[in-house]
Amino acid sequence: FCVFLTWALLVSLCTAYLCLPGAAGSAVNCHKNCICASNIISCSKMNLSVVPTGLPLYTAVLDLSYNKIGRLQSEWTTVKLPNLHNLLLSHNGLHFVSLEAFVYVKHLRYLDLSSNNLRQLEEFIFEPLVNLEVLLLYNNQITQIDRSAFIGMSRLEKLTLLDVSSNKIKMLRIDELQALPAWIKNGLYFHNNPLLCHCDLYTLLAHWSIRKLNSAVDFRDDFTCVLPGPEKTPVGVFELSGNSMNCSTFEEKDEEAYLKQTLTLGCDTKHRDMAKTWRLPGNVPGVKKTNCLVVMWDNEQDFSSNLICST
């Protein structure tokens, strides 16, 4: 009888252990672990350690913020969620995002991964998210941005806001940043990072500031960089043209060309989908080709004039 008792005790302990919450993923329960308002499922601050299973197909907004989801596995959803367009995962201590985490949520428009513990992001994680408009990665521990990330960003054609501010990024590829179209630069925020001071960085931000790109204008004082050297004192990037590193003050240069030379002038704007036209001074005729305006000058005196690009 004693043996039987101990055996029963053991069995019950085992089953109790298996039934412990957190051992297996629990399903969405609109009365216990989530608040369901038709297509908004709000499970924030519910002490969850995994994403609840059984997410309904009509889910449009999924709020999982302020939980303890440390890893976003690829099977956090096993079916396509065609209506999901907002996914909120901030304040979770998230440190791992699987490469295939977002293959089932292609219609996502707003992804908030801010205030987590992400250190790096694999370059192709966001590739399936062709409809992504806003990507928030601020306040993580990201130390570097993969070089393909910005190229990938221009492939995500609807992305208007990428925020990697308040991370631990030391180096950015300035040349790749400068090559991005203006509408992306307008929505690329990387202030409050321990960037290494470099005159190129100053030139980039000064240029953006003159062009009134939001990212440079709104956070003028928060763009700090760390001077090379043992002290690691942060200085404002816009002060680099003065005493600190004596970077040459940035001014937009005039374009110069010689006779018979072809000069190509670009026209870029932070507003998207704008029709652009060039206004030529005087009666200089121009021939319109695809995407280009070809102007021929014969005399030298016509050269010093302003060409205005307007949208």
Partner: protein
């Protein structure tokens, strides 16, 4: 005055004691709503200011005015006074106040953020929506009020919300359907999503709801609806119509199929009268009587029959004999002096207590026009359309099979001479070249050129450089079967040992 106070506290050592009044004056004069830095309680990222989860009981001072999104969720705010947004937020589009303890919102509380598009007040402690609480929010598109304890909605509270499209009122304590949302002047013009799930609605204004069906989704799951004949009729129609709220939440509506508590509808005996889509035709100026499809007469006592017209909804309880459109007590719709504009689809909504089979419909098509103009009727039109469809698919499949047969018949192995012999080649290659520019490089081809499968046999059966089309295949000139302007498909050349790889890129 609060912002000025923070200015003073932030600055240390402004000057000596004698200069302090002057400094104070300077600061007072110098204070303008300029771009402030980020308050210590918040995190400023891009145009998002996030002050969530900081146990705040009041709004932090000196929030940056460029903020587009302000997140104050997961705090302990309890009330929003009229001036709680102490500075103007001209750019604020999103304001998140969910998961606080807000029980009171005073009038004009959001007037400092007139460009607000999204307001989240979910999971708070609101009990009543006063008038003027949302005053000034003329551009607001989405309003989240779920998870409160709202018992009463003042009809004036939505007066300024012209642009409101989505309203979430789930999990509150509403007992009456807020029809004033749709009827109040100045209210939302285009409300396409109304979530009233998990409230305490028992009675529904069925006729108004029928008319609102077209406007968008009204979500009523999880309410203790009384299953009277009118409610049953409405649900039956919505299920048939595949109305989104019923498609997604069918299981959470009461009154399922005649079972359930509080079932108050005398069901008729169910005769198997098939409900086909019917069509009625009438000349302008005449009158028309349309009986309710599938409704056995006499109509039981107390049951109301509803008709949904292209413009409105009517019911049978109060017939008006002189009106243009009226519903007779036996459920028949009567159109007097028909006008051309009366044409359209009419639905008879009644609790028939039956499943609808495929092809069955409680709807009726009414055409008001000269009889000479149309032929046959809607039914004839429909069947002819069906015939056309089947004929078209048969024709298409015949053509496809002929093409496949031709493909198979006219394939011959092709042999090419010389050219790139150093490259080993094997496998098979399909080349499709219908780009006319390829023809310019020497070959005379007007249409697409179709090239054979090639067996991996002889050494000289290889094709040269993939960039130039094969020179030696003049003898193959079938008509281009696929005559689109596609470019040459890239070819893959595989080793003999590696598996077959076919390339197709169209």
């Amino acid at each position: 005055m609060r912002p000025v106070a923070s200015e003073l506290s932030g600055r240390t050592g402004v000057g000596g004691s004698c200069c302090r009044p002057a400094a104070l004056l300077l600061l007072c004069l110098g204070f303008l709503p300029w771009v402030a830095g980020c308050p210590s309680e918040c995190l400023c990222a891009s145009d998002i200011v996030s002050c969530s989860g900081r146990n705040l009981s009041a709004l932090p001072f000196d929030l940056p005015s460029y903020a587009t999104r302000l997140d104050l969720s997961h705090n302990t705010l309890t009330a929003l006074q009229t001036d709680w947004l102490s500075q103007p937020f001209g750019r604020l589009a999103t304001l998140v106040l969910g998961k606080n303890r807000i029980s009171r919102v005073e009038a004009n509380a959001f007037a400092s953020a007139p460009r607000l598009l999204h307001l989240d007040l979910a999971s708070n402690r609101l009990t009543v929506l006063n008038s003027s609480v949302f005053a000034g929010l003329k551009e607001l598109k989405e309003l989240l009020l779920f998870g409160n304890q709202i018992v009463e909605i003042n009809p004036e509270s939505f007066r300024d919300l012209h642009s409101l499209q989505r309203l979430y009122l789930s999990s509150n304590k509403l007992t009456a359907f807020p029809l004033e949302l749709y009827e109040a002047p100045g209210g939302p013009r285009n409300l396409s999503f109304l979530d009233l799930s998990y409230n305490r609605l028992s009675e529904l204004p069925v006729q108004s709801l029928l008319a609102l069906t077209r406007r968008g989704g009204i979500y009523l799951q999880g309410n203790p609806l009384v299953c009277d004949c009118a409610a049953l009729a409405l649900l039956e129609y919505w299920v048939w119509k595949q109305y989104r709220p019923l498609v997604d939440f069918r299981g959470e509506y009461p009154c399922k199929e005649g079972v359930g508590p509080g079932f108050h509808c005398q069901r008729q005996g169910v005769p198997d009268v098939p409900l086909e889509l019917q069509m009625y035709q009438v000349e302008p100026g005449n009158w028309l009587r349309v009986p309710c499809p599938g409704l056995t007469l006499p109509v039981p006592e107390g049951q109301i029959v509803f008709w949904l017209t292209p413009t409105t909804a009517l019911n049978s309880s109060a017939p008006q004999p002189s009106a243009h459109l009226t519903v007779l007590p036996n459920g028949t719709l009567e159109i007097q002096a028909a006008l051309i504009e009366d044409s359209g689809t009419y639905a008879c909504v009644a609790s028939r207590g039956r499943h609808y089979g495929p092809g069955e419909s409680p709807e009726v098509a009414v055409v008001v026009g000269n009889l000479s103009g149309t032929s046959g009727g809607g039914l004839a039109h429909r069947s002819s359309a069906e015939h056309f469809n089947t004929a078209f698919t048969t024709l298409a499949s015949c053509v496809v099979s002929i093409i496949l047969v031709l493909l198979y018949l006219y394939l011959t192995p092709c042999r090419c001479r010389g050219g790139g012999g150093s490259r080993g080649c094997g496998g098979r290659a399909i080349i499709l070249c219908s780009d006319p520019r390829e023809a310019e490089s020497g070959q005379r081809r007007s249409n697409g050129k179709r090239v054979a499968f090639m067996e991996p046999q002889a050494e000289d059966s290889c094709i040269g450089d993939p960039k130039t089309p094969a020179v030696n295949l003049d003898h193959i000139t079938t008509e281009g079967i696929l005559k689109n302007g596609s470019r040459t498909v890239e070819q893959t050349f595989t080793d003999e040992n590696s598996p077959f790889m076919s390339s197709s890129a169209l």
